[in-house]
């Protein structure tokens, strides 16, 4: 009886926060409510038993996206961008109708789901021993549906290229973002010196444990990217120029490794097939590569496009 009451309360709060984020008039309020939404949604996912998703939500939704949006908003206010004219009543009615229809379809689909599992749980469990890992989510992401994960990592690369394309010609070759500085003996700099080793430990732990417990490459990579960005925000380290070869190699390495392993599998039979006796090692190698690349890509995405002239 208490369980459903807690869930109901949490659901009501989450809906209220979502409404506050989307219906408010000021951008800063929307951003703060969005960050709050991420934290609460992580609790909701945990309550539903989806700990891998909760890890991703806590890392990306409450952490990295908050960082990104606050920085973007600050940049907007400094540039004195004029707000465009709000859309007319017809456009708003059309949007409301589309959103309501999508919500209705999703609600209908959700009510048709069997609440006690079913679905693909048995199918995955039947083949779990041959997948090389014990965590069914990792098995699906990196083995059974490795195709999707490969494409997702390439999509991140495309996004990065898109962000870089916003740079002005005279800035190309310079470092992304503006140079940050902080008081050298202050609280921020000390925090930024103390936290990255701990963040590194937690990030590697989350990736490593993802083979048997909830975790994974995306979550670990987000943690690594976030603590590196903290060091950059405190001025302890500066972003490298985006035209440097080492930057490009690191960003491409993960998807390229994944693609290479998949192609070797194609020569032996099926593209992206992992032989069961080597599956665990291969998955660990792929995850290591993906973690490094995704961490670098996410950090570069948050930093933005080059805004300083090359030295």
């Amino acid at each position: 009886m208490i369980g459903p009451a807690f869930d109901l309360l949490l659901a009501l709060i989450v809906i209220a926060v979502a409404l506050a984020a989307t219906l408010g008039r000021d951008n800063f309020g929307a951003v703060v409510f969005f960050i709050v939404y991420g934290s609460l949604l992580a609790v909701a996912w945990t309550r539903l038993g989806a700990v891998d998703v909760a890890l991703a939500e806590a890392a990306i939704g409450a952490g990295l996206t908050g960082l990104l949006l606050v920085g973007a908003l600050a940049r907007l206010s400094r540039l004195e961008v004029f707000s465009p004219k709000p859309p007319g009543a017809g456009a708003r009615a059309l949007c409301a109708l589309t959103a309501a229809s999508v919500a209705a379809v999703v609600a209908y689909a959700l009510t048709g789901l069997d609440p006690d599992g079913g679905g693909l749980t048995e199918t995955v469990a039947a083949d779990l021993d041959r997948s090389g890992v014990q965590n069914p989510v990792t098995a699906v992401l990196l083995n059974f549906r490795g195709y999707d994960t490969l494409l997702e990592s390439i999509v991140l690369l495309v996004v990065l290229v898109g962000v870089w394309s916003l740079a002005q010609d005279r800035h190309w070759g310079g470092a992304p973002g503006l140079a940050q500085h902080a008081r050298p003996d202050g609280v921020l700099a000390t925090f930024a010196r103390a936290l990255p080793p701990i963040g590194l430990l937690i990030g590697v732990y989350v990736v490593w444990v993802g083979t048997s417990e909830p975790g994974g490459a995306f979550q670990g990579a987000t943690i690594l990217a976030a603590v590196w960005l903290l060091a950059a925000m405190a001025g302890l380290t500066d972003a490298p120029s985006v035209t440097r070869r080492s930057v490009r190699v690191i960003v491409i390495a993960g998807p390229a490794l994944f693609l290479a392993i998949g192609t070797v599998g194609a020569l032996a039979g099926t593209f992206l097939a992992l032989p069961p006796d080597h599956a665990k090692r291969l998955i660990q190698v792929i995850e290591a590569g993906l973690t490094i690349s995704i961490a670098a890509t996410l950090a570069l995405l948050v930093l933005g496009f080059p805004q300083r002239a090359p030295p």
């Binding site: 208490i2 369980g3 960050i35 709050v36 934290s39 940050q180 609280v187 943690i223």
Partner: protein
């Protein structure tokens, strides 16, 4: 014990609701970031309370670790954004 922990977690949600009120009405932007900080910490507390009860067991503590680690970052980005040139430190005085 499960029931008791869920009751405490539900009451912590009430403090979350209070923090949300502060986010909505805080006269200054710092007030709103403080509300977000309180929601983050309350989320960590709720996750710790839910861990002995949840379906996935104590793996939920990893979510609490990640949330505790990253919850402060938005506030740090905020204080940098409101510093004098947008890239500084509130402790570097004018």
């Amino acid at each position: 014990m499960t029931d008791w922990l869920l009751i405490i977690a539900a009451l912590t949600l009430v403090s979350v609701a209070a923090a949300l009120w502060r986010v909505a009405s805080g006269p200054t932007t710092v007030d709103r970031m403080m509300g977000a900080q309180l929601v983050g910490t309350s989320g960590v507390a709720i996750l710790i309370l839910l861990a002995p009860t949840s379906r996935s067991g104590w793996a939920a503590l990893d979510v609490a670790v990640v949330l505790a680690l990253l919850a402060a970052f938005a506030s740090i980005a905020f204080v940098k954004a409101v510093s004098r040139d947008g890239r500084g430190d509130p402790e570097e005085d004018a």
